[in-house]
């Protein structure tokens, strides 16, 4: 639909896909400092969906919204490199330690201030795997939500969404405003665009600018400013944020050490592949 405003929810996460031996701390929490910080993979799928809508319809804008420490501004730059129009970094000490409830409270307030027609997020983040934030944002906004999306387009005023479910595909339609969460099976996000990278590589938040010693920035290179919002900007109640706003308490963490791996060697012969497929079907690993 022409002229709509989209907000993409994106999170900077530790890359838990290639974990080394020191990826976990002794207390069982993720050691964020040793893992590279990346754009949460399914949020990239979400961004791609937003960019496709922007390409397909006129006057659509895409704003990235991320909550995190100052360095999460990198997520906004990554979004700009791929075609987002702008971005907002929600950052404040008061947000630290937020669980999904507190996070979605803050995000919902920020979305409210941005007043978009459509919010698109990834299904879940690889550091928590809860898949709760998108749906909770929808609840707090009082908007309908569609999860597991894979493809979407407008028919008139309605968004038609294909959902990837465990045993098949479902197509639904929904009115705006709406929150959609996107599955990892959706098309991969496009690569960075050369011109946009050159244009936005010096985009900075105010806090980053103050911390930066680079001459470039001093020379006024940072022509693009990334918006930074704290607690006040979204009018949040500090009690509902951070640790105090997070009812989730980690009771116990168990280290699961896999004792033995059951492994089987297969060749690429047709016979081997066929017997594997049959076995997987029989024990319902697939199908």
């Amino acid at each position: 639909m022409n002229g709509i405003k989209i907000v993409v929810l994106a999170k900077q996460v530790p890359d838990t896909r290639n974990v080394g031996p020191d990826a976990m701390k002794a207390d069982g929490t993720v050691n964020r400092s040793v893992l590279p910080a990346i754009f949460n993979p399914e949020d990239l799928n979400a961004l791609e969906q937003a960019l496709r809508i922007k390409e397909r319809y006129e006057g659509v804008t895409v704003t990235l919204l991320t909550m995190g420490p100052v360095r999460a501004a990198e997520i906004i730059r990554e979004g700009l490199y791929r075609g987002a129009d702008d971005g907002v970094l929600l950052t404040d000490r008061a947000f630290a330690g937020s669980d999904t409830l507190a996070t979605s409270y803050a995000l919902a307030l920020a979305v409210h201030r941005l007043a978009p027609d459509l919010v698109i997020g990834g299904r879940q983040a690889i550091d928590g795997d809860t898949a709760q934030v998108g749906p909770q944002v929808a609840e707090k906004l009082g908007w309908p939500q569609v999860t597991y999306a894979e493809e979407m387009h407008f028919e008139g005023e309605k968004l038609i969404i294909r959902r990837r479910l465990e045993r098949g595909v479902e197509t639904v339609s929904a009115p705006l405003p709406l929150v959609v969460t996107v599955n990892g099976t959706a098309p991969a996000c496009r690569y960075r665009n050369a011109r946009l990278v050159m244009k936005y590589k010096y985009a900075r938040t105010d806090t980053e600018l103050q911390a930066e010693s680079s001459d470039y920035i001093a020379a006024g290179r940072s022509s693009v400013r990334i918006t930074e919002w704290g607690v006040d900007a979204i009018g949040a109640d500090p009690e509902q944020l951070g640790l105090s706003g997070s009812p989730t308490k980690v009771k116990e963490i168990e280290n699961v050490i896999l004792q033995a791996k059951e492994s089987k060697r297969l060749t690429s012969s047709n016979a081997d592949v066929e017997s594997l497929v049959r076995e997987l079907l029989e024990n319902h690993t697939i199908g």
């Binding site: 960075r192 665009n193 050369a194 050159m198 470039y216 022509s223």
Partner: protein
């Protein structure tokens, strides 16, 4: 995340060559566009950072999209129906990813929606794409046609065609005909000016045209009735949207199967004249081919890199007689020589690209203001060097690419002959590099001038002057002695005053010069980064023995022996 740019440290090393400071300053004309375009660099560091970031995008696309598609593209290939070509699915996907990344038309000026990058990063991109899929590298590389439009066409034509590249338009260069291959002076395709329509019309047949169904084609045609040589030929630009050309068939080839090689029929196809009449072959096509030859140089380095990696991996995994095969001298010698050749040809490739960059940048500046005497000298010198280095790099890297692919298959043993391993495709893809854009024999014809006029020797003497660390001295001595030997053999051949004898020894002499040049380039690499010292050492000892064979052959060759070789 796999990335063909960041996984090979040699690339950043060549990108960051000290000569880049000057090249970038000239190319960016003192960074004057920084206020006009929000993506133009502010200074040297900023520009280099841009090249690095953009090559990283291309490296990712190569590793994650193009390389994984290569096998399917090789099997599926393009198809032709109703006179037009449809690419294989993977080819379309590759092209779309690069188009979206906004990297096509990389070295065109910003006013034509280019990125205004120098040749060095552009050639590097071609190397990366070639490593991923040599056939697709042609479709990527034909953006060179835009460079010819930029240099020689009117501003109106530039405005019409150049901005289309960045949006994904592809191009073709239509030179070869059934009876005009190496000898392009024999081109027959007819161009006549149609007064009533106010346009040139093309009629005739072209053969072996890569990507012949492109949106934009540069066509060499005979515009002057009654002529029969190169001076009757002009260059035209044809827009597929205007119609008039059909693809009669596409060739069934040994390699680079994803790249459609077309036979084209022109029937009153309207076209626009590029530059002046009669200058088509002697000026514009020469320039076009020089660009394309550098492209084939990059393609060769890319294929060789891919083949080397396959061989290295296989040799470290395959066990025979109780150990991995890379532990046998016969195998590790092959592997190491593959790597050293690869490094040498890559150094030659980027050295050439820097000469091209420098002379092109000066020519653009010269279009705006008169050059000073020193600047003119620098322009002339770099033009001359680009002219003699281009056929050298095309010759050496395409031949060595074939050699490396051959050895890579050998290291795979029987598995190398089986289609399950990528090395089989690389071997087939490699074969074209020493044939198109002028065969190796024709590169020698072009390069021999650098031998007989002393061009290579003069540059070798320049290299000699460079101060090196003392521990590299013994290597330099070897090269100085090779240069002396080369000089003597050139004098011997030339002084005989027999052109046929010169032609007979031409390739040997060009190869001798090339070995010395590459020896120096590796030595300079070692000077800049001690990590390259062992490569320099290995290469120079290899060059000594290679040159000795040639030198002795020439030395003991009697002119009358030519007769023994003649075929009646």
């Amino acid at each position: 995340m796999a990335n063909f740019y960041t996984d090979n440290k040699d690339l950043r090393f060549h990108l960051k060559h000290p000569a880049m400071e000057k090249i970038v300053r000239l190319k960016e004309m003192d960074y004057r566009e920084r206020e006009k375009y929000d993506y133009a660099p502010h200074d040297f560091e900023d520009a280099m950072d841009n090249y690095d970031r953009v090559l990283e995008i291309i490296g990712a696309i190569c590793a994650e999209v193009i390389a994984p598609n290569a096998e399917d593209v090789d099997h599926e290939g393009p198809t032709v129906a109703d006179g037009h070509v449809t690419y294989a699915r993977g080819t379309r996907e590759n092209h779309e990813a690069l188009t979206r990344a906004g990297v096509i038309g990389m070295n065109f000026p910003r006013q034509y929606d280019g990125l205004n990058f120098p040749m060095v990063p552009y050639v590097m991109a071609a190397e990366l794409v070639s490593r991923a899929d040599a056939g697709f590298a042609n479709i990527w590389g034909l953006q060179d046609c835009g460079e010819t439009i930029l240099e020689f066409a009117t501003d109106e034509i530039r405005q019409e065609f150049l901005p289309r590249f960045n949006k994904g338009a592809t191009a073709a260069m239509d030179l070869t005909e059934p009876d005009a291959g190496s000898d392009l002076q024999a081109v027959q395709l007819k161009a006549h000016y149609d007064e009533s329509g106010g346009t040139w019309l093309l009629n005739g047949v072209k053969r072996f045209i890569t990507n012949g169904d492109a949106e934009i084609s540069l066509v060499l045609a005979r515009s002057e009735e009654g002529t029969s040589d190169g001076r009757g030929l002009s260059l035209f630009v044809y827009d597929r949207a205007d119609g008039g050309v059909i693809v009669r068939r596409i060739e069934n080839k040994m390699g680079i199967k994803g790249s459609p090689t077309c036979e084209l029929v022109f029937r009153n196809a309207p076209a626009k004249l590029v530059g002046e009449r009669r200058m088509g072959l002697i000026k514009y096509v020469m320039s076009l081919m020089n660009g394309a030859r550098l492209g084939v140089g990059a393609q060769s380095v890319g294929i060789a890199q891919a083949a080397y990696e396959e061989a290295r991996k296989y040799a470290s995994e395959r066990k025979q007689f109780g150990k991995t095969i890379d532990q046998f001298p016969a195998v590790y010698e092959m592997l190491t020589l593959m790597r050293v050749r690869l490094e040498a040809m890559r150094s030659l490739l980027y050295e050439t690209a820097r000469y091209v960059d420098t002379y092109k940048a000066w020519s653009f500046i010269a279009a705006e203001r008169p050059l000073t005497k020193e600047e003119r000298e620098d322009l002339k010198n770099n033009t001359r060097l680009a002219d003699i280095y281009t056929p050298m790099v095309k010759l050496i890297s395409s031949e060595w690419c074939n050699r490396i692919a051959y050895d890579a298959v050998q290291i795979h043993g029987g598995a190398g002959f089986i289609k399950d391993f990528p090395v089989e495709r690389l071997y087939r893809d490699a074969r074209i590099t020493s044939i198109y854009e002028g065969t190796s024999q024709l590169q020698v014809v072009a390069a021999i001038r650098g031998v007989t006029t002393g061009g290579y020797l003069a540059q070798i003497r320049e290299y000699e002057k460079k101060e090196l660390r003392p521990e590299l001295d013994h290597l330099k001595k070897e090269l100085v002695s090779l240069a002396g030997d080369y000089e003597m053999r050139v004098a011997q051949v030339v002084s005989a005053g027999n052109n046929e004898l010169t032609d007979f020894h031409a390739r040997r002499l060009v190869e001798m010069a090339a070995n010395i040049v590459m020896g120096y380039l590796l030595l300079h690499d070692a000077q800049r980064d001690a990590g390259y010292t062992s490569s320099a050492e290995l290469f120079i000892s290899f060059a000594v023995s290679e040159n000795r064979v040639r030198s002795e052959y020439i030395g003991s060759f009697e002119e009358k022996a030519l007769g023994l070789y003649k075929v009646s």
